[in-house]
């Protein structure tokens, strides 16, 4: 009897197994195949993160085959140094950035992000962002195949970037877009298309930085059809030297129109103060003031309130030298030869000449302590450029400092 029952049980068991499909295979990929050790652990920590967490990245190089993302507020990611703790995305297969953050009160410090396929660090729609001592680099040097932006806060409020390093971005090394209350200081941008770019951003201080070896050193841009227009940007006490790398950006992007050899460029932005900088040896011009009309923009009623004209620009007290001796592009070369002769050079400031004829008082572009200015007559097809500096002999009140209240 007992035997019979045992048999019945066995039969029942045999039936049950395939029917219930209870066979579970333990060996199944419980951890991502391409990432191991700390890399897998780090990804998990980002998923589990809670406000107040400090995620430590030890010294070492950690490889990721997919982008990372963080969505929890109040998290700090802290490495052992921007040359010691490296998040490497070399060979990345998926994801448009290295690390994507969509969280408030975010701090990342003392680490490096290398060779991401797309942007290095993107922080979107966040309030309270600190990026300190972070290096973003494409280690193969300047290449069009590098990712677009190194450090990329966008739609953010209250952003501090300091002691950062950005090298090799195919668009901008440090880019702050559509943000408000921003400080970028004591950082270094080299061999990017744009070293530091502030775009459609309100209240920004860019100071104490070094921009060298880029196509353009420091850019302040305003583009149409975005969430807000740029306003009130101060660029001061920076060293902007020898930004003469050939433009390796993809055509069509805003920075693709930046000629190699541009020091500081203001494009379609209002209320900009540029002072106390050392600007030298930028071979197109140390300072360029221009409009998106020069870069393929056509006034369109659909662009709404967009103001394409740079207005209320105050340049004063900078230490300028060299530059203008080898402008990029046939048009500018021709301009230089026509206006200053074969051995001459463009003056410190190059202005494309687009002004709003309806604006009482003109564009209020005030240039002091510069070697001269040339208005390239963009609106007139570059036919009647002018060296007359008298329209620019004016002053504007200084802009207030941006105070993020964190020292």
């Amino acid at each position: 009897m007992a035997n019979k029952m045992r048999l019945a049980a066995a039969v029942a068991l045999a039936l049950a197994l395939p029917a219930c499909e209870k066979v579970s295979s333990v060996s199944d990929s419980a951890s991502p195949a391409g990432e191991s050790g700390f890399a897998a652990e780090f990804r998990q920590q980002l998923l589990d993160a809670k406000p107040g967490d400090v995620i430590q990245v030890p010294a070492g190089t950690f490889h990721f085959d997919r982008s990372l993302s963080l969505r929890a507020d109040g998290v700090t990611i802290r490495g052992a140094g921007r040359d010691k703790s490296v998040l490497s995305f070399k060979g990345q297969k998926a994801g448009a950035e290295g690390l994507l953050v969509n969280a408030n009160d975010f701090t990342i410090e003392h680490l490096a992000i290398e060779d991401s396929k797309g942007d290095g660090l993107k922080v979107s729609e966040a309030r309270g962002v600190t990026i300190r001592g972070v290096r973003v680099e494409w280690t193969g040097g300047p290449k069009t195949s590098n990712g677009a932006y190194g450090l990329y806060p966008v739609l953010c409020h209250d952003v501090l970037i300091e002691d950062a390093v950005a090298i090799g971005a195919s668009d901008a090394g440090i880019y702050v877009g559509q943000s408000r209350d921003v400080v970028v200081r004591n950082s270094r941008a080299e061999r990017n298309v744009a070293g530091i770019e502030i775009e459609n951003t309100v209240n920004a201080d860019v100071h104490g930085n070094i921009a060298t070896g880029n196509t353009g050193g420091i850019l302040v841009f305003n583009m149409p059809a975005l969430t807000q227009q740029g306003d009130a940007v101060r660029v001061f006490a920076n060293k902007v030297t020898a930004n003469n790398t050939g433009n390796f950006g993809a055509k069509g992007t805003p920075v693709a129109s930046v000629p190699a050899g541009s020091g500081i460029v203001v494009n379609s932005n209002d209320n900009i103060e540029i002072f106390d900088n050392d600007i030298a040896d930028n071979q197109t011009a140390n300072i360029i003031i221009s409009s998106v009309f020069s870069t393929g923009y056509k006034a369109d009623k659909a662009s709404g309130e967009f103001d394409p004209y740079p207005e209320r620009i105050f340049v004063h007290g900078n230490r300028l030298s060299g530059g203008g001796d080898s402008p990029d592009g046939l048009d500018l070369k021709a301009l230089k030869v026509a206006m200053y002769g074969l051995g001459g050079r463009l003056p410190d400031v190059l202005f494309d000449g687009y002004v709003n004829p309806a604006r009482a008082g003109g564009p209020q572009i005030c240039l002091r302590d510069v070697s001269g200015v040339v208005n390239a007559d963009g609106p007139g097809g570059y036919k009647n450029p002018s060296k007359d500096a008298t329209p620019y002999a004016c002053s504007l009140p200084s802009l207030p400092a941006v105070d993020l209240k964190r020292g």
Partner: protein
């Protein structure tokens, strides 16, 4: 003792073989480790089956995911229903579980087939596992505090799907009708990346379903016993209330040659791009909005200057150059598999050739317009 053991076994056998599984279980908190913990879909007798009151559905025009086919289901607790919304995702009650199972028809020797998705074949009660390979099942669960996304990945034996919060890359070989082979790193998103698409409101960071909207659901579906309009069926089974009388919004099917090109293209852009490219989505940074509600040609990309496209421009000046797909950024990014170029950024690793062709035809048919550049 022994008798009780045998009785227990017999119960198990009966339960499984009589196909009366445990009811669907809504977990109000936590992250259950296996898909089976939810009991929405389950494997029995060689099929992936739907539990009682789990209703399958399809979208007029779906998101493209590396040619994966998709079985979508909805379940709500008894006595609850979703509230109709004309444009937004329906207002689902707490306890709702949406599932989406990604699968491929099986090819020879471990390959899978690259084919259009005709909709799930649920004849005989479920997807036949000898014919299809299950890849992952993603759940969207409506809890009191909001929606949570949970990705479950099926094992090789197709017996179990386990939670894979960190995502992974799954190598697949896609074989086309013509025998062509394509190696794919199918990307299972990590849990934060789920919000990359489903966080349709960047500010609130809340996660929402994308598909179950009136315009996407307003089409017929081949249920096990009959063919019926999905919105009508949801009302009949008590899953949807507050539906107004009269005609309801309906998206075109992107691959319906009888539908107008404009409607097909806009339906495709809406479901593939509109969750980010909207006035509230993650891609509002770009100023290019591709959701169904957008009408402004500039917002839709006509003569629109790129902002942060980087090399994604493909050396083109405008999002859409009317009449000239070769000079437009939009189809260029759709036709790329470079992670730093391609759109959408997540959810595919191969090109949707037919989708690109549709959008190219749409742009080619636009009257030429001088963008000024």
């Amino acid at each position: 003792m022994l008798r009780r053991f045998i009785a227990g076994l017999a119960l198990c056998v009966l339960a499984a073989c009589a196909r009366t599984p445990e009811p669907v279980r809504f977990h109000a908190e936590g992250m259950p480790a296996t898909l089976a913990d939810w009991n929405v879909v389950y494997v029995a007798d060689g099929r992936l089956r739907l539990n009682a009151r789990v209703v399958p559905y399809d979208l007029a025009t779906p998101l493209f995911t590396d040619y994966a086919h998709k079985l979508r289901t909805v379940w709500m607790p008894a006595g609850t229903q979703a509230g109709y919304r004309p444009e937004a995702t329906f207002d689902f009650p707490v306890g709702t579980i949406l599932s989406k199972t990604f699968y491929y028809p099986r090819g020879e020797a471990g390959t899978v087939l690259r084919s259009a998705d005709p909709g799930p074949d649920l004849a005989d009660g479920g997807l036949a596992l000898d014919a299809v390979r299950l890849v992952e099942t993603r759940l969207l669960v409506r809890r009191a505090e909001g929606w949570i996304a949970l990705p479950y990945v099926w094992n090789e034996a197709q017996t179990e799907a386990r939670l894979m919060r960190g995502g992974e890359l799954l190598p697949l070989t896609l074989v086309g009708n013509d025998g062509s082979r394509q190696q794919v790193d199918y990307a299972v998103p990590d849990q934060n990346q789920c919000a990359g698409c489903h966080g349709t409101d960047l500010k609130s960071k809340a996660v929402f379903p994308i598909g179950p909207k009136a315009r996407h659901l307003n089409r017929s579906f081949a249920y096990e016993d009959r063919r019926a309009n999905q919105l009508a069926h949801w009302q009949e089974v008590g899953y949807l209330g507050g539906v107004p009388a009269g005609s309801l919004p309906a998206d075109a099917r992107w691959d319906d040659p009888k539908a107008p090109l404009e409607a097909r293209a806009r339906a495709y852009l809406d479901i593939n791009c509109g969750h980010c490219h909207s006035p509230r989505g993650a891609a509002r940074t770009s100023g290019m909005w591709l959701d169904a509600a957008t009408r402004d040609p500039l917002r839709l990309g006509r003569c629109k200057l790129p902002i942060a496209a980087g090399k994604g421009t493909g050396d083109h000046a405008y999002g859409i150059q009317p009449g000239d797909p070769d000079a437009s950024i939009l189809p260029y990014r759709m036709a790329s598999t470079d992670p730093s170029v391609m759109m959408p950024e997540l959810g595919r690793s191969v090109v949707h050739v037919e989708g690109v062709a549709l959008l190219r035809a749409w742009i080619a048919a636009m009257p030429p317009y001088d963008c000024g550049g």
